[in-house]
């Protein structure tokens, strides 16, 4: 065998290996999805979506859970969006390269990797106890905001960095101030990227149960929350609660709730992909 034959063989071998690895991930995911759908899809009906939780599996619904999830989504967006984007823009546009900013940058990168339950403990101490918010929606949203802020900051910085120098130069050369340049040129041009980051961060927040359990969100809430100061539950907690029960019927309920949660997550991801594609079509450098 000549050298080039061996190289070609190696090439082929790696290709097969790569395809194999790709499929492992996909197959596991597909099996999981099919299993969940088979188990839960028949359980989803109008009553399931509009009933309050109950001790009897057949009467239990997820109304409080999905309403809670929606509340958390909206509140978290309202808190994390301005904070994260402003911080990202500051670090990228204003922050000079000094020790302090280096320190901040490294820590933001580290924060993105901190386990979510730690944020729960932080939220418990600061929001629930010090700020006296109790196990309320607001405490939950604030905690989840902390959790996703690093992601939003990092994606904002990436999006802002992708706006070419020449556009900024053009704006400065016409007498624009730094803020005018950021507001009129940089932010509109990077908005698609920023939005994508925020939505992906939110779809992570939607799936979190651990930090919310720590701050005292309950699985059994007999009413839908009507203000940010009400107690609440969310879909992941409801799912967690149902899967820990011995009765078979509750497992079916859990599967059905998982489907609803997946639909919400996929919707969010779909919106993110759509926005990114639209942005790429609109802006060509």
């Amino acid at each position: 065998m000549t050298n080039s034959d061996i190289n070609r063989l190696k090439d082929k071998a790696f290709q097969v290996f790569g395809i194999f690895c790709t499929f492992i991930g996909l197959v596991v995911l597909a099996v999981f999805l099919i299993d969940i759908i088979v188990e839960g899809i028949t359980r989803i009906d109008w009553d399931f979506l509009t009933n309050l939780p109950s001790r009897r599996a057949s009467r239990a619904g997820i109304l409080t859970a999905w309403v809670g999830t929606l509340w958390i989504l909206v509140l978290t967006t309202l808190i994390a969006f301005p904070l994260g984007v402003a911080a990202g823009v500051y670090l990228e546009e204003y922050g000079r390269k000094n020790r302090l900013n280096n320190f901040i940058e490294i820590n933001i990168a580290n924060l993105a990797g901190v386990p979510s339950i730690i944020y729960g403990l932080l939220g418990l101490e600061i929001f629930v106890r010090q700020m006296n918010l109790g196990g309320s929606l607001l405490a939950g949203a604030l905690t989840l905001s902390l959790l996703i802020l690093p992601i939003i900051i990092v994606t904002t910085r990436e999006a802002v960095k992708a706006v070419p120098r020449s556009v900024r130069d053009g704006s400065y050369a016409l007498g624009a101030s730094k803020w005018q340049t950021i507001w009129n040129q940089v932010l509109p041009a990077s908005f698609g990227g920023i939005l994508t980051g925020i939505i992906l961060a939110l779809s992570r927040a939607v799936g979190e149960a651990a930090p919310l359990i720590v701050i005292g969100a309950l699985a059994y809430v007999p009413f839908t929350p009507s203000s940010p100061f009400d107690e609440f539950t969310v879909l992941p907690i409801q799912i967690f609660n149902w899967t820990s029960r011995p009765q078979e019927e509750f497992l079916t309920n859990a599967a059905a709730a998982i489907i609803v949660l997946l639909v919400i997550t996929f919707l969010l991801n779909g919106i993110a992909v759509y926005l990114r594609n639209r942005q790429q079509k609109k802006v060509k450098w």
Partner: protein, 254 residues
């Protein structure tokens, strides 16, 4: 700064990027309402020098200037000079066309809008006048609200010129404005420069000797951060005084 006093001067100008001495003791005096060309090999400091006239180098970390840059007799590196006011007087066109990812109309009126001018009739009139001045009006008048990025490279560059003219500067700095364009677009831009010099003081950086010969009244030759020779373009191209100038314009180096 008044419109008639747009004479450009540099007195004992030195500029540094950190430790690098980019411009060495430059003294020059440029005529009003004329075209001055800066020529010289890459890295000789001509673009750096051009950018001191609207202080675009301010954004580069480690950049500093000693000496004076005078526009209409006023030192623009004084502390009390506001950079945004300065840039209303001194417009700039870049090497690569850099229209904003907005409509043609929005590109032209951007400079006015950030000055706080909101009145639609004023903006529309300014857009038409500037586009006409930049010889682009006939090509774009039916698609003013289409994206500027859909224009050809040459049209984009003329749009950038129109954008600069819209805020009525008295000086126009051009950093190799035709180097990214095809010959026909280049000819159009050169023709435009020739027309504009009736009303504006123009400084153009170029790598193209023929271009310097065609459009400029005076030429300055830079080499290794020094201003080697500065003379009427005709004089310089026919009888350069310095050996380095002679070698450069006859194509022996650079």
């Amino acid at each position: 700064m008044s419109k008639t006093a747009s004479k450009l001067e540099a007195i004992d100008l030195n500029a540094y990027y950190g430790d690098f001495h980019a411009l060495k003791n430059i003294n020059i005096d440029m005529e009003e309402k004329a075209v001055t060309a800066f020529i010289g090999p890459s890295g000789c400091g001509k673009s750096t020098f051009l950018r001191t006239f609207n202080r675009m180098n301010d954004y580069i970390e480690g950049f500093r200037v000693e000496g004076q840059i005078l526009i209409g007799g006023q030192d623009i590196y004084q502390k009390n000079v506001r950079v945004d006011e300065l840039r209303k007087e001194v417009g700039m066109v870049f090497q690569k066309p850099n229209p904003f990812p907005k409509s043609i109309y929005e590109n032209v009126v951007y400079g006015l809008k950030i000055q706080g001018i909101k009145k639609k009739s004023v903006l529309e009139e300014a857009a038409e006048t500037s586009l006409k001045r930049a010889a682009l009006w006939d090509e774009v008048k039916d698609k003013l609200h289409k994206s500027a990025l859909a224009l050809s490279g040459g049209q984009q560059q003329r749009l950038c010129i129109a954008r600069a003219l819209a805020i009525s500067p008295s000086v126009l700095l051009m950093d190799e404005p035709a180097s990214a364009l095809d010959p026909i677009s280049t000819a159009k831009v050169e023709e435009l420069i020739y027309e504009l010099k009736n009303d504006y003081t123009i400084v153009i950086v170029t790598h193209n000797m023929q271009q310097a010969g065609r459009v400029s009244d005076s030429t300055a030759f830079f080499y290794m951060g020094e201003l080697v020779e500065y003379a009427k373009t005709k004089t310089m191209f026919t009888s350069p005084k310095d050996n380095r100038t002679q070698n450069y314009i006859t194509g022996r180096f650079g």
